[in-house]
Amino acid sequence: MIESVPPFVPVLLAAAIAAVAPRKVGHAVGFLATAGVAVGALLVPDGTLIAGQLFGFETVLYGVDDFSRLMGLIFGLIGAAAVLYSYSSEADGKQTAAALGYVGTSLGAVFAGDWLTLVFFWELMAVTSTLLVWYYGGRAVRTGFRYALAHGIGGTIVLGAVVWQYVEVGSFLFGAATGVVGPVAPVLMAVGIGVNVGFIGLHTWLPDTYPSPHIAASVFLCVYTTKTGVYAMFRAFPEGHLWIAYMGGAMAVFGASMALLQEDMRRLLSYHIISQVGYMVAGVGITTELATAGAFGHVFNHILYKALLFMSIGVVIYRTGIEDITEVGGLWKVMPLTFISYLFGAAAISGVPGFNGFVSKGIVIAEAHHMHNINVVPESIPFVGTDLLWWLLIIGGIGTFMSFIKLGYYVFFHGPASIDPDDAKVGQAAPMLAVGSLCLAFGLLPGVLFELLPYTDVVTAEYTTYTVPHVAEGIALGVAGFVGFFSLKNVLSRLTWIPDVDRVLNPAVFYGGRALVVAVTETWAAVDRVAVAVASGALRVGSDPQHYAYATAKRLPGIEAEARPNGGRPGTIDLQVSMGTSVFLIVMTLLGALAVLLL
């Protein structure tokens, strides 16, 4: 049974039910469907399960291997937690229906066995997530439109890449080639997927959109688009690609730095997504299997702790109505459950030893340690890596620590609590604590995590999590983070005005686009005016040729217009000609036509 029903089916059915059923029923069905998918992902066997034809092309609708299995498991798991959180945060049935549609289409994308099916679901993911953002109304409508445009452009580029791949290889199936091949498809695919994962320069939609809708919607949004992007990046470049690895490193630093400058809670978290996705992209880009396993481990872990962070900060927003970190403070005493959840998430994301982030981040950084591509320090220095990528990832790690110390400090400490909100509701605390414990559990028992990862044997053979250097690295990052934050705290609070590239990009695109639109329409209008003028002019001349003949004759020198015969009507010239002249004119015309035809 599991083999014959692709996971997206029950989730999309649940979405349809949630749209019309009462709130409780809809959420219950959604929870069951997503939890069912998670369980099913553990039980389903490997292989191509449903192959077929789509629009006349060979496709695989439901294919399972270690990578898609991992994605299915975590998507289902976090989907269930997020549905429970939505219900408790008073999200209504229609919003959760949109969210479930988004989850379902993401599942369709990660269990696809070919590019056509993946693109099919990729576009639908963009539509469903846009609906989820729009549903909230208000400011979210316009951000949702920008989001739709950004993803429309990204999806279009991916579509182009898929078509180029098909023309190059002759098939859409993943198995027909190693990733995307040819001169054009890899570039297009990297750029197109880059929009979804937040490559620097293509990332502006992320911090723009994610903070704008309902808090529960943000939880869904932070998970699916970016991670499906990482998965697709792996499918496109299964053997990695160095430029992608370095872009990942750059994202790690960029995301953390921009996060340090933010004062809106969810915007800070959104920039941080870019940073963490940078680790995943770096892992995919590094060519070794261990690095890929690390990347997917990071996908798994990041989904857990990022959703946890959005959930806990979401509770703060839900209870206080405040989204700005400078306006709250001291909440650790009055919202202890939320604070503990936040602590778990922050520790996990920063890579504190004992939490899951430490495990997967450690793998990626360890692999970067072995690289010697762009050496920035001499090899003789002990403990530190030599490659630029290692340094980028480490600096990103320090930045991560700093950002979460910042967020935690301003929200939960930073003076006495001036407000006394209630703590998280049961329905919110349950998923938060559950996910938080998973973060701790996978950190303390990395072997369990390794079982879920692809290339399990490689990982268990080549990587030991708790070694002195690894733990020392983790502690060193933490210390650097604390020191860095508290010493730079005041400086940072004065730098919050620094804008992102969308300050330049958005007006450029908008006004540039408008200039183009106006140019095209005005040019066309001018052409049309000329054409209409010519046509109506010809019509006027043709309807009264004698008058115009007179007017022309008057202007020509040497011709006495008044003296010409005018049949008794002044202001005109009689255009009748004699029989002889007529015959002459006709013969000349015919000779001319004959000449044209013969030559």
């Binding site: 949702g144 439109f145 580029i157 023309v167 007006p507 639109v517 329409t521 209008a525």
Partner: protein
């Protein structure tokens, strides 16, 4: 390919001619008259559908009347390509007729008999075009179609409608002349004008210059109806016609007949190989690619919904022409598949525009904020069809666009592929705002439309009247200053409330204020000033007519927009309008989704596969 003599092609054409007369005869009994339309439409579809299985199996149904001009026979032939168009036109006529009933009665329109009779005649001509077996018969029915659709375009009988009708005739008869000239040259070059799958042999070996000239004439002649730029101007102006006519023009018959003509020329007169060898394919494709992008760009600026849809049609039709101009089976498949795909999607969109007009008298997008409350089913169908236009999967537009992309990239034509991709993004840019403002924005807080005409980040607008009964909120205060006339009391005399009136000489006409009488400066609401609607339309409508740069525009001819208390909420169960109109909208939308999920099962893609393999037989890639 066995030819079978069968009267069904001519029966399909004649049934609606008979229907035309029956409709005219039933002019005093509207329900009988509508019943005739529906019966004839169902009959026509039945006859044509009955020919589909045979044609899929390889038969071709022929019916001939003997020699017509010189040795060219007057012959009707139902082959796969003809059936593609014929099935589409007759199926959509059923849906359009139901919609027309709801629309015409909903607006209590005049001359409904003339309307339905002309409709029947137009469909007769359309099916004649579909089944024409040579260029001359196609030309005859082409002109009949133009003549039969004129009363529909000029239906309103206003000055604007007549102007649009004249423009329509000028363009399409001009196109017809070009077609006839091209036909004559082809006959002279090849000795025959009959449609031969893969092209007429003699034409491939004829003098290239003359062959190119004939192709240019034929392409230009059919291109008028197919909306190729720069011959497309008649299309946006023809939006003055009632909405089902716009649907007919844009989805069912007229533009599809233009595109069909081009497909016959490319596939059955010249053949794709000759088209590629002569180089005319690249020229035609370039015109199509430019039209594709330029029309979408122009659509971004249009505030009137039907005009935006008109430019969208111009753009989408060029997808078809682009596909046909490329020598690759996937490209031709994509182009031909876009014929039914676009028809279903565009018909849905036009019907939505029409039902909004009937129910709320709203024509402009800037008045449609929050209309999803009032018309949820309509706007949901609009959203689905708009998604299809942008090429979102699940709807038919994705499949045809995908085939087109594969075809263009396969032959290395990256510029055309880029144009197709760009057009998808532009479609999102001009359709999504309509959808999001309908459902997710409200009448008193939405951003000004069209988005391109307003500042970055949007400008807040409200379509509801201010509580003091003043003019609708505009977001700026200069509206207050226009409330009073610039009348100088010294000149005209102050009102005298003393009881004795000042002597005023009424033998002279009233003094003019700013060049017109004071009483005319703010015309009463019940009169719609026709002059306002037609100002500047000769220069076409690209410049300032359509976007609301002045506050005064709200007063002039805007009866649309939400009522003062905001849109009333209708449920999702059809309370928003009559099922005569909602049913066809949902049917057309469903058709586009079915075609997007299972195009083979929905017959059309099977017909197209047959066409493409017949036409490209013997060509290797």
């Amino acid at each position: 390919m066995t030819e079978v003599v069968d009267p069904r092609p001519i029966a399909a054409v004649l049934i609606s001619v008979v229907g035309t007369f029956a409709i005219l005869a039933a002019h005093r009994r509207p329900n009988v008259r509508e019943g005739v339309t529906l019966t004839v439409a169902l009959g026509k579809f039945g006859i044509i559908a009955s020919m589909v299985p045979g044609v899929l199996a390889g038969d071709i149904y022929v019916w001939s009347l003997g020699s017509f001009v010189i040795d060219i026979p007057f012959e009707l032939r139902a082959d796969a390509l003809g059936l593609l168009f014929g099935t589409l036109a007759s199926l959509l006529w059923i849906i359009t007729s139901l919609y027309s009933i709801g629309y015409m009665r909903g607006l209590d329109e005049h001359s409904q008999t003339r309307y339905f009779a002309s409709f029947a005649m137009s469909l007769s001509a359309a099916v004649g075009i579909a089944f024409a077996s040579n260029l001359l018969v196609l030309f005859v029915f082409y002109e009949v179609l133009t003549a039969a659709t004129y009363p529909l375009v000029a239906h309103d009988e206003t000055e604007e409608a007549r102007k649009a009708g004249r423009k329509y005739l000028a363009y399409t008869f001009g196109g017809g002349v070009a077609v006839l000239a091209g036909t004559a040259v082809v006959y002279w070059l090849a000795g025959t004008v009959a449609f031969t799958p893969g092209g007429i042999e003699a034409l491939a070996t004829a003098d290239p210059t003359l062959a190119r000239g004939a192709f240019a004439l034929l392409a230009a002649g059919f291109g008028v109806k197919a909306g190729l730029m720069p011959l497309h101007s008649w299309l946006p102006d023809a939006m003055v016609a009632p909405t089902p006519v716009s649907g007919l023009l844009h989805a069912v018959a007229v533009v599809k007949s233009g595109v069909f003509g081009i497909s016959r020329v490319v596939l059955d007169v010249y053949g794709p190989e000759a088209v590629a060898d002569l180089g005319v394919g690249l020229a035609l494709g370039s015109v199509a690619a430019i039209t594709l992008v330029a029309a979408s760009v122009i659509a971004l600026r249009k505030d009137n919904l039907k005009r935006r849809l008109a430019y969208s049609t111009v753009s989408q039709l060029s997808y078809i022409v682009l596909g046909l101009s490329i020598l690759h089976p996937d490209a031709i498949t994509g182009g031909l598949l876009h014929i039914p795909a676009h028809a279903f999607m565009k018909l849905t969109l036009f019907f939505c525009a029409g039902i909004i007009h009937v129910e709320t008298h709203t024509d402009d997008i800037s008045d449609m904020a929050g209309i999803g409350k009032r018309m949820p089913l309509t706007m949901a169908a609009f959203a689905v069809a708009a998604a299809g236009m942008a090429g979102i999967p699940l709807v038919a537009g994705f499949v045809s666009k995908f085939y087109l992309l594969v075809g263009t990239v396969s032959v290395g034509n990256y510029v055309f592929a880029g144009a197709l991709l760009l057009s998808g993004i532009l479609n999102i840019a001009y359709f999504w705002p309509v959808v999001y403002q309908a459902f997710f924005e409200s009448e008193d807080a939405h951003d000004a439309k069209p988005l391109v005409e307003n500042p970055l980040g949007g400008m807040e607008r409200s379509s509801l009247a201010r509580p003091d009964g003043g003019r609708p909120e505009d977001g700026d205060d200069s509206a207050d200053e226009d409330d009073d006339l610039d009348v100088d009391p010294e000149e005209f005399g102050r009102p005298d409330f003393s009881g004795s009136s000042e002597k005023r000489d009424y033998s002279e006409p009233a003094p003019l204020v700013d060049g017109e009488y004071a009483v005319d400066q703010n015309p009463s609401d019940h009169r719609v000033e026709e002059g306002d609607e037609t100002e500047g339309d000769d220069a076409d409508d690209h410049t300032s007519e359509d976007h609301h740069s002045t506050e005064d525009h709200h007063d002039e001819h805007h009866h649309g927009g939400p009522p003062p208390s905001g849109w009333t909420r209708s449920g999702w169960f059809g309370g928003e309008s009559t099922w005569f109109m909602l049913g066809p909208i949902l049917a057309a939308m469903t058709g586009s989704v079915v075609l997007g999920l299972v195009p083979h099962t929905a017959v059309f893609l099977r017909l197209i596969d047959g066409i493409v393999s017949a036409v490209l037989a013997g060509v290797t890639f």
